[in-house]
Symmetry: none
DNA sequence: GATGAATGAGCCTTCATTCAT
DNA sequence: GATGAATGAAGGCTCATTCAT
């Protein structure tokens, strides 16, 4: 028998991302994805249980890559500020150079499919970062505010700025990114 | 006669918003919207050119309402900080009490339909607010950063925090909102 | 608006019967039925909830016609023998001249769809005949056996003989039918 | 090796019968049969030319078993009546204890596949019984009617009564079976 | 021999839209 | 203006069968 071809599975996921970028989440049908991936529609159902599974798997895979990129060279021994801002810079770098992945996640996250993913599975990858924020709070370096609040002010502006659909006029130059990270820090520092 | 028209048109828009909330953007078909609005599918095509027009119109109407809510009692004569934070508070208040409208816009904005709306038409409503930010920069009250950057740090955290899909654990209490606005101000103030 | 077209609904049912005769129950798809009826597949779903509904409705309609044909000129005042045999003759006459309807019901009855029909709805049409059999038992004209047994020996042989698929060599001449009815009577008479 | 073959082949046939009983002829696909039999779909095509061949083979195998069961201990030297009724009793006994086989044949016989089987191959197994009927006719013990007619009145009622789908209210007790066989004999005896 | 991967065709159903009243 | 009927195209998915190991 033939062996399951991981290359083929990846091709399907890549085609999914590409197609969603081109024609949007709503219009991306299984057969179009299959055509783009160069496989039969039926083949997709060998690798994924159904359309939902395909989309959720694609999302989780992207999010996992993103998490790894953000947490790369994360060093809790650095000064809190430096460690946190490094993550933001990583975030910017990754999204900038993988905008098509980013588009997919944005469309996915704002769809009912989003309710199907296990958030914990993703968030656990940021544990060291979360711990560091808490440490900053404990050390009275960071404001004593709910975690979600701190996180939102730290990373959401950059997360949004990097999205051309939301900010078509923004130029994500290194200078601007640095500016943004400084502003983020000003927001949360005590 | 005129009155009757608008009632029916509004019913369709309301049904659109409600349905997108319930079953999502992807699954909301014209016939389902018609059924929910209590009209014939054909009737929708009297008021809207096609499905795209219906969705875009719904989006613009919501965004217009949102803009009005934000800019309500906006007073450029107040201290810059107070005026800007007031807008943020308005934003929070409106979204909190109209979450179904908010969900629609989030799904819409992350779809290819978003590219069809004239952004200027919406942004012009915020002109006074934008001008005030620029004034703050000129007066060296606010950091000298690109406008998009300032705007993002001012309002995006709250815009995201208020979305339960993104922050299911966040409690949008008045205290937290005030905290958030203060952090936003710390981010942009000089 | 257009008015619902009963002619169209009948065309669909007729096409269903015809197609099942030609290619069998298993191969009769909704789109083939639509093509045969000269309508769009989608049109079928205006008149029937789904494929199951189409098949069940077709079945019930045929069974109703069959019941009417059998019970036509049924006369409980005739001698029991004559009245019961008349029904058998009617059965034979109807099936012979509507074999395509008969084929459909045979295929339907031996499929899981059969479990979906309300048997009572059909059987009630034979009430007078059932009553007469009971009367025959009470009058000691007919054997004192369970109703199902009497019924089976009265009408099942002819029901089967008339089916070319089961009895390709049998010639359903009037003489043979009369012979069969006499044998049926011999079976049940006291 | 040879043994293993037949085990697998039988497993497939058993799975076919079981599945048809559970979900019906229409819904029984090759892959589902394979899964139920614990083999690969491809394996089925080693033992059977195609789906049609699988179904027809299954049918013939069942019919052969049924024929053997009916003709077991058939004794042409007994009085005609006794010999014929014994076969009926055997028929009842076999079907009662192998209802799942019976269901399959009913669904198969009322499908286009039925036209593909060589009837002679099956009927030849009943030769002694057929001969005995003819003998009864010649000896003026049995009515002088076409063979099909005699056969239908002898065995079809019981064949139908034993089918719960057709007679859900009938209790196939030994007493009822004896009653039925007597009625059958009354129908055909001179 | 035996397998699971692979497939184009087809399944049932719903889509966005238009027609006729 | 307003409607439900009507539709070809497309939706997600499974089919019977073959391929490559």
């Amino acid at each position: 028998m033939r062996v399951k071809d991981e290359i083929k599975q990846d091709a399907v996921i890549e085609a999914t991302v590409a197609l969603v970028n081109e024609i949007g989440f709503v219009s991306s049908s299984v057969s179009k994805i299959a055509k783009r991936a160069g496989v039969s529609p039926a083949t997709i159902y060998i690798y994924f249980k159904n359309k939902e599974d395909l989309l959720v798997s694609t999302y989780i895979q992207i999010k996992t890559c993103l998490a790894q990129a953000i947490m790369e060279n994360f060093d809790a021994n650095l000064p809190v500020r430096d460690a946190l801002l490094q993550a933001g810079t990583n975030l910017y770098a990754y999204i900038s150079s993988h905008s098509e992945l980013f588009y997919f996640t944005e469309q996915f996250a704002n769809s009912p499919y989003a309710d199907l993913v296990n958030r914990d599975e993703i968030e656990i990858q940021f544990k060291p970062l979360f711990d560091l924020i808490q440490y900053g709070v404990d050390q009275k370096i960071i404001k004593d505010a709910p975690f979600e609040l701190l996180f939102a002010h730290l990373y959401l502006p950059i997360f949004s700025l990097v999205n051309p659909r939301m900010h078509p006029d923004f130029k994500a130059t290194p200078e601007n990114i640095e500016l943004s990270m400084n502003m983020a820090w000003d927001a949360i520092k005590l």
